[in-house]
Amino acid sequence: MQAKPIQSPGSAAAARPKPKRELLAYLKTNYDMYLLLIPGLLFALVFNYLPMYGITLAFKDFNMFAGNNPFTSLLASPWVGLEHFENVFGRADFKQALANTLLISVYKLVFLFPLPILLAILLNELRVAWFKKVLQTVLYLPHFLSWAVVSGIFVTLLGSTGIVNQFLDAATGHTISFLMDKSIFRSVLVATDGWKDIGWSSIIYLAAITGIDQEQYEAATVDGASKLQKIVYITLPGIAPTILLLLILKVGHILDAGFEQIFIMYNPTVYEVADIIGTYVYRMGLGQMNFSLGTAVGLFNSVVAFVLIVSANSLAKRFMKKSIW
């Protein structure tokens, strides 16, 4: 233990220059850091914060031709208060979209959340090194394919003349229109999302498993624990914090039911079961040029999502001591 050098109060005060001078000196040596930040800040200001002003659309009766461009038109349009919101919440198709969003999200959560955990455990137990490597390469790949490609693959597989229906036809004599049938379409959404991302999602659990102290397994082996017991009593508790963290964050994103996927895979025959808030905003707002209505729905979505994500993150911070930012 080293004794701290004792400073007299007087010398400390003398060593500290006046705050303003300090700031100037600081900026003089570090101004380049701020220069680096400027383009990014400007970009965010223009392309991320400026559209936030556009939210006023939700409270205005937007007239595209009130000004020379959309921005001046927005300024010139009259305020209407909460009219659009009252209108939106009374619409059956909006309620349907909201219900679909929640339903599809919950289906995906229930069916797709546990699978990557199981997969990571199975992969971890795999002792054949080359097979494990090949398998991981194969399982991660679909994550990097675009939804256009994935959708193309499944249209080819599940279409009316696709290989699955050829097989069904030969085996049972009738076919299933997977992409047109309201009672099946959601299952198709869940299954294809699983196909694309289960492998990728397992990475994080695999990393967590690697972090478990190996001595625990050795001790358990000495005590005569079976493989299953080791998984249940060592591996699962070991990755429980990661599981809980990801679960909390997933719940925070519950209003995002997979917009890109649904937009590319759905069609008018299944709107009733597949139309989610994102696709609804697109069709109402941009498709039918109903800008104010679209913005109102979008705002509702953004605000609820914001609250959910921030609460999820603070939960994660509080209980897991981890957060995404």
């Binding site: 680096l36 199975l122 939804w147 256009a148 959708s151 290989i163 990393a207």
Partner: protein, 290 residues
């Protein structure tokens, strides 16, 4: 160590289960590849499963001769290259200052960027902004939306924070300023994370179709994924007519779709081996941040 009988059973079952899972992932892809390389007759007779029947590459030739396909491919290449370079530059410029714990106002700047990740104006205000700035129907409308990725900024920032402070300190004593340190010392050390994030950006740009749905209506500006999207959904009446004409030319529409899918995936498949080296580390740093 001796394996017990129960463990042997477990291992066998495990291998079988994972093998089936691997097949489930791979076979749909192989089926599409097989279709793209099979003759029209074999496809319409339903003989194609996972291997090409009556092997031919005519469909690929046909697709590559389509002006719209070549144009879309070129657009996607341009957007991916320009976008990745710009996005990567911006990511470093934001992440480096933010990685300095002593930077005054760091908390505020962090908040400015993190807020962007959490809240946005939404689809309609964004569209109107792009329209106001005249970005609609330009390739910039495809580049701009992907340029600011807060997730990637956090990833790079975390990496910078973990670099040894002492190296920078000694350079500073030798009289290097922040720029020199960034370019001569930090970036060369950060090459792996640059590669990872660069590839993430490239994949995102290559795969993006929705910006095009929103902002592009001119056929000659459409990127490849949108071309593919239209081919799959066949929403436009012209597309149907085109396909009828194709049928007369003895090229199967299913086969065309399959070949287009394969060709749009090709760049990803070429990048994939490089990607794989980096992404595991990348995602581990990025998602479990203290």
């Amino acid at each position: 160590m001796r394996t017990t009988r129960g463990e042997q059973v477990f291992n066998v079952v495990n291998i079988v289960v994972l093998f089936i899972l691997g097949l489930t992932t791979l076979l749909p892809f192989l089926h599409v590849l097989a279709k793209s390389l099979s003759s029209q007759v074999a496809i319409s007779l339903g003989q194609v499963t996972f291997l090409p029947v009556d092997f031919q590459i005519g469909t690929f030739q046909y697709v590559l001769e389509q002006e719209q396909f070549v144009g879309s491919f070129r657009n996607s290449v341009i957007v991916t290259l320009v976008g990745t370079v710009l996005a990567l530059t911006m990511t470093v410029m934001i992440a480096y200052p933010l990685s300095k714990p002593k930077l005054k106002g760091r908390k505020f700047f962090m908040l400015v960027f993190v807020f962007v990740m959490l809240f946005s104006g939404g689809m309609v205000p964004n569209y109107l902004l792009y329209k106001t700035f005249g970005l609609v129907n330009t390739l910039w409308a495809l580049i701009v939306p992907g340029m600011l990725s807060v997730f990637n900024i956090l990833l790079v920032k975390t990496f910078f924070e973990e670099l040894p402070e002492s190296v920078e300190e000694s350079a500073r004593i030798d009289g290097a300023n922040n720029f020199t340190i960034l370019f001569r010392i930090v970036l060369p050390m950060a090459l792996p994370v640059m590669a990872a994030v660069g590839l993430f950006f490239a994949v995102a740009y290559w795969n993006n179709y929705f910006s095009a749905v929103l902002y592009i209506t001119k056929p000659d500006l459409k990127p490849l994924q949108m071309y593919l999207y239209e081919l799959i959904s066949q929403t436009t009446p012209e597309m149907g007519m085109e396909l009828d004409a194709d049928r007369m030319m003895n090229v199967d529409p299913e086969s065309i779709r399959a070949a287009t899918i394969m060709l749009s995936t090709l760049p990803i498949l070429c990048l994939y081996p490089f990607l794989q080296k980096y992404f595991v580390k990348g995602i581990t740093i990025g998602s479990v941040k203290g």
